[in-house]
């Protein structure tokens, strides 16, 4: 299973990637939204894990692009860092499958990813 991780905080991104790799996923990681988007267009990922707030292109924009332009139903998990962002997203259907508030619990993340990937299969 291939997962793309888009997160601008190096430590968090590397940790998430390391963690997911240790669970058997294949990970491509990006710190820039625009580069992530280009990779999504080119590669064939099974799941997108993206921070909401990134330089260049935001997680919301990535999701919108994937749903509207690429017409893809690839599972998208958005990482949010505050309650405010969470509520904004809840009331604004942009087509993401999950929102996970930071700090991200690895265990929770793993459960959600597995759930989304199973549903899809």
């Amino acid at each position: 299973m291939r997962i793309i991780v888009a997160e601008d905080n190096d430590i968090l991104r590397k940790s998430l990637s390391f963690f997911l790799e240790s669970k058997g996923f294949s990970i491509d990681q990006f710190s820039d939204g625009k580069e992530a988007l280009e990779a999504i267009e080119k590669e064939n990922y099974d799941l997108i894990l993206t921070d909401i707030n990134m330089p260049g292109v935001s997680g919301m924009e990535i999701t919108q692009h994937v749903r509207e332009n690429l017409k893809s139903d690839i599972p998208v998990i958005i990482l949010t860092s505050s309650g405010v962002e969470q509520t904004e997203l809840d009331s604004f259907d942009i087509g993401a499958n999950e929102f996970i508030a930071k700090p991200v619990s690895p265990a929770v993340l793993l459960v959600r990813i597995n759930k989304l990937l199973k549903t899809r299969i």
């Binding site: 905080n9 430590i11 968090l12 590397k14 940790s15 505050s82 930071k102 690895p106």
Partner: protein, 661 residues
């Protein structure tokens, strides 16, 4: 005014006598009203009064049936009564030549019968009258006349009593003021004595550290002992004045009882003569922590043990402490100090705790001392609701024992980290002090410690220096011109938002002073004259407090462990990343904050938050949340600055800890 009434010969003195009682225009008084009622009952009259006559009126202190508080003097019957020494009785005014045409007889009060007794002061002045008046013709019998005279005497007695009470009250006030004046005199004197003493003891200490030959060393040693003794005496006197004025408060704080006892023991052990065995026996059941006043226990023990050692040339001095009672929330202990010294004569045993009393008249000369020590001990023990007793046999020895109760404590003792001198590195210290001698002394002492010292003449200057240069520590005199130590500390804490350690240095030793120091935000307190060791200890304490907060931060790696699955290599990599990246980002954040670049502050704060979360630095993450929010709202406040500073300091700590891993 046409004065058609007689004026007494001694009118001026009479008026002066009246004025002395301060009775005119005072409020009604039960004692006088009772007397008036008595007159009315006894004489069976509808009108009775007690009145005083001044220059131009008759003023009624108490009246029945008169209905006014005063009348003009010219219409008063009593003008005649105050000329007399005996009762004046007019049975029928209508047949009295003097009064038959008086307006108060023909009309007004319709006075038909009048009986008046002059109110005569002990020095013979008629200042007023006691009267019985009726609208009908009347004649008093002897008993009634006697009763009137007796009541008149009582009225005067009542007046005298009031005056005496006033005098007593005034005297009490004067006495109270005198006590107050004495206390502040003592406090001021002790300040005045301590300041030069500070210099004497301090410079002697410094001198002792220089190269000296044996004779010089001997002289210096004597000066040191004399200086310390003088200080003890000053302290004793000050303590007594505090106890006497009720200004000595007993602390209730957790302390380690066993440690305190061992500390006192090791402190005094150095004074023990070769032929004397000095023992400390502690009950096995002695608890570690109790709640009470450690300083006062110290003082009592040092005093009693010091005495025992002083008066014992051979044999032993044994200090033993036993738990004698334990309740649900408290312990009682018996402290005993037993020696094989010179003992106290039987006839002196009872007065040994009195002030300026010693075992022998000659002891003062042989052994020195102020004769205040035991009195202070007794008062200190009693202030803590304990008792102190003594048993002694002349030439055999003495035993002083006292009981004290302490509340149980459930707090664990916080270990004070000891830092050796070198650990402190090269401290930059700022001294705020106006006294040149003290400046000089502090400078040599501080330089001796290997630290740098800058001096400010007053608080104002100190603040200026603080804002210009970076210091590690402030030594603060309390009494300074322009801005005193309290004001300066308040300014540093509240206006400059600085948490630089501040040590109060003071010769005041006034009650509540120490509390006040801590209240305004100082971190430690060193009484003057300061001893080098005590100052260094205070510096170490405040600096290690500072270090403690550094070391208090334990970085929780459990999140990173979970992420990394315990992979040490990866953990190391992440820690390295943190150390590499975050300090740079902090610098950027601070710069953006200075430029009020809301956008960048927001981005940086947001970005760093995830890093804080990974290392579970909740407090720093919260700081960033607040900074981010303020940046979003487009307005920075004093709180933002605070948070940026706290965050920056926090990162500094964390990086330091991470680097050490």
């Amino acid at each position: 005014m046409n004065k058609n009434y007689p004026i007494p010969e001694n009118e001026l003195q009479r008026l002066a006598a009246l004025k002395r009682y301060n009775i005119l225009d005072t409020l009604p008084d039960d004692a006088f009203d009772d007397a008036t009622r008595l007159v009315s009952y006894i004489c069976g009259v509808p009108i009775a009064h007690i009145s005083f006559i001044d220059e131009d009126r008759q003023w009624f202190k108490s009246e029945i049936g008169v209905g006014v508080s005063e009348v003009p003097r010219e219409i008063s019957f009593c003008n005649y009564t105050i000329l007399d020494t005996e009762i004046v009785e007019i049975n029928d005014t209508h047949v009295n030549e003097r009064f038959k045409d008086d307006p108060n007889v023909t009309g007004g009060f319709n006075v038909r019968f009048y009986a008046g007794v002059p109110l005569t002061t002990p020095d013979g002045y008629n200042i007023g009258t006691l009267c019985a008046v009726d609208h009908v013709v009347k004649e008093l019998n002897d008993n009634q006349r006697n009763a009137l005279s007796i009541i008149a005497k009582h009225v005067i007695a009542q007046l005298e009593l009031g005056t005496k009470n006033n005098q007593l009250y005034t005297q009490r006030k004067i006495a109270e003021r005198a006590v107050l004046a004495r206390d502040s005199f003592l406090a001021n004197m002790s300040h005045e004595i301590r300041t030069p003493l500070n210099a004497i003891i301090g410079f002697t200490d410094l001198l002792a550290q220089t190269e000296l030959d044996d004779t010089q060393r001997d002289y210096i040693g004597s000066v040191q002992i004399a200086g310390e003794n003088l200080l003890l005496i000053v302290n004793d006197i000050l303590d007594l004045s505090k106890i006497e004025s009720g200004n000595l408060t007993i602390e209730t704080e957790s302390f380690n009882l066993k440690k305190t006892l061992k500390h006192v023991y090791s402190l005094l052990k150095v004074k023990v003569q070769k032929e004397v065995e000095f023992n400390l026996f502690l009950d096995a059941e002695l608890p570690d922590m109790v709640i009470g006043d450690q300083g006062r226990l110290n003082q009592i023990l040092v005093n009693l043990i010091g005495n025992a050692l002083k008066f014992t040339n051979e044999g032993e001095v044994t200090v033993s402490v036993k738990k004698i009672e334990e309740t649900e929330d408290s312990y009682s202990f018996k402290f005993s100090i037993k020696d094989t010294g010179i003992g106290i004569p039987k006839d002196k045993l009872e007065t040994i705790f009195e002030r300026f009393t010693q075992g022998e008249e000659s002891t003062t000369r042989t052994f020195g001392g102020t004769g205040l020590g035991l009195n202070i001990v007794k008062q200190l023990v009693e202030l803590q609701k304990g008792e102190v007793h003594v048993k002694s046999t002349l030439n055999r020895g003495s035993e002083f024992f006292f009981t004290l109760s302490y509340k149980k404590s459930d707090t664990e003792e916080t270990e004070v980290k000891t830092v050796s001198k070198n650990d402190l590195g090269h401290l930059k210290i700022l001294l705020c002090e106006d006294n040149v001698l003290n400046q000089k002394l502090a400078k040599s002492v501080i330089n001796n410690f290997g630290f740098d010292l800058d001096i400010a003449q007053n608080g104002e200057e100190g603040i200026e220096l603080l804002s210009q240069k970076k210091y590690d520590l402030v030594l603060m005199d309390l009494q300074m011109p322009v801005k005193d130590g309290y004001q300066t500390t308040e300014y540093i804490r509240n206006e400059m938002n600085s948490n630089i350690p501040i040590i109060a240095m003071t010769a005041h030793s006034l009650v509540g002073e120490q509390e006040r120091c801590y209240k305004v935000g100082m971190n430690a307190y060193v009484p003057k004259p300061f001893k080098q060791a005590i100052l260094l200890k205070a510096i170490k304490t405040v600096m290690s407090l500072d270090n403690d907060t550094h070391h208090k931060r334990i970085i929780d790696m459990s999140f990173l462990d979970e992420m990394s699955g315990g992979d040490p290599q990866f953990k190391k990599e992440m820690i390295g990343l943190f150390i590499d990246k975050i300090p740079n980002q902090v610098t950027q954040l601070e710069e953006a904050f200075k430029k009020t670049d809301y956008d960048n502050v927001k981005k940086l704060a947001h970005n760093m938050k995830s890093s804080m979360d990974i290392f579970m630095l909740q407090d720093l993450s919260n700081c960033l949340s607040i900074i981010e929010e303020e940046a979003s709202s487009g307005e920075f406040t004093a709180e933002t600055l605070d948070k940026v500073n706290i965050f920056s300091c926090g990162i500094e700590e964390v990086v330091k800890i991470l680097k050490e891993l």
